[in-house]
Amino acid sequence: MLKSLHARRGVQLGIGLLIGIAFGFLMQKGGVTRYDVILGQLLLKDFTVVKIMLSAVITSMIGVHLLTSLGLAELHPKPGSLGGTAIGGLIFGVGFALLGYCPGTLAGAVGNGFLDALVGGLAGIVIGAGLFASLYPVLQRTVLHKADFGDVTLPRLLNVNPWVLVVPIAAGLVLLLVVIERAGL
């Protein structure tokens, strides 16, 4: 692992900026910096968002597991619980449909010139994140750890080598994309 590189703060800020520029460029070329495309997905009329996300998941799932198998990287799965992940996910979903952008695509929409993203959405997300920070002690005691399952991954849950799942899941997701394309979506 490139541990000395990971520890250099200034270099990490620069790499972060470069990765962000490439990510924003790709999002705009893919069309997902637009409200119309994202709502098209949520209304199940335009499957661009799903096509991009699944292609990215398939590619990075294989790539990152290659890196970990070669000892060049470690996984960092996020912990979760039904009270945290599921309830938070549903709240996010409601906001996703009202706003029409997610935190990443909102930044792209700002760069694309969408003022609803800059004036309304940016302020909203910052307020919402701050609201969570203020509610955090209470939520932590009450709901966030309800039905906690930790940072488990599917291979660890089933106690198998990751590749036993990576290969069939990647193949299944490719098949799903073929079905979506064949259906003309």
Partner: protein, 173 residues
């Protein structure tokens, strides 16, 4: 270099490139792409301007220190990259009300801005509540086969699809 000025690339090409970029992030930064924590750090930085250094003692900001980090720079980079792409293809334009919204709810900016603000509050709250957003959970967590992230992304889309259907069918014209 004409392809840099194209209006749209194949979603599959874009997705594969984002996947490779995510591998680069894991290799070079020891963490995959994510976006929503940067907004929490920003809210801490703004709160610090008004309430001073004690803001950093809030339990949540002890975990997510209100400072600029690599992920914060990544979100800033997204703005620049999207601006670059939109400018090269002649698509950069200041727009208050997107077309799909205007067709369903009218072209007045005020309802759109209020909805975007309210939606943004839900997005910021929900993303931190769930521990990630469409990138951190939706792409970076699912590709690690994290159980939490597969649950998160199903909830994002279940909540999103249901809400979109209701607001467009009930309130749209």
């Amino acid at each position: 270099m004409e392809w840099l000025a194209m209006k749209q690339w194949s979603p599959y090409a874009v997705g594969v490139a984002i996947g490779l970029l995510n591998c680069a992030a894991v290799l070079l930064c020891d963490r995959p792409i994510g976006c929503s924590a940067a907004y929490a750090r920003t809210s801490g930085m703004i709160e610090k301007l008004f309430r001073g250094a004690k803001v950093a003692l809030k339990p949540y900001y002890r975990q997510f220190t209100p400072v600029v980090d690599g992920e914060w720079m990544l979100v800033l980079g997204i703005v620049l990259g999207a601006f670059l792409s939109a400018t090269l293809s002649g698509q950069f334009a200041a727009v208050w009300v997107p077309d799909r919204w205007a067709q369903a709810f009218g072209a007045s900016p005020v309802p759109r801005l209020i909805t975007a603000l309210v939606g943004g509050v839900f997005v910021g709250l929900g993303a931190r509540w769930a521990g990630g957003c469409t990138s951190g959970h939706g792409i970076s967590g699912t590709m690690q086969l994290a159980v939490s992230s597969w649950i998160a992304v199903m909830c994002f889309f279940a909540g999103g699809i249901a809400t979109a259907m209701v607001i467009f069918k009930v309130f749209g014209t």
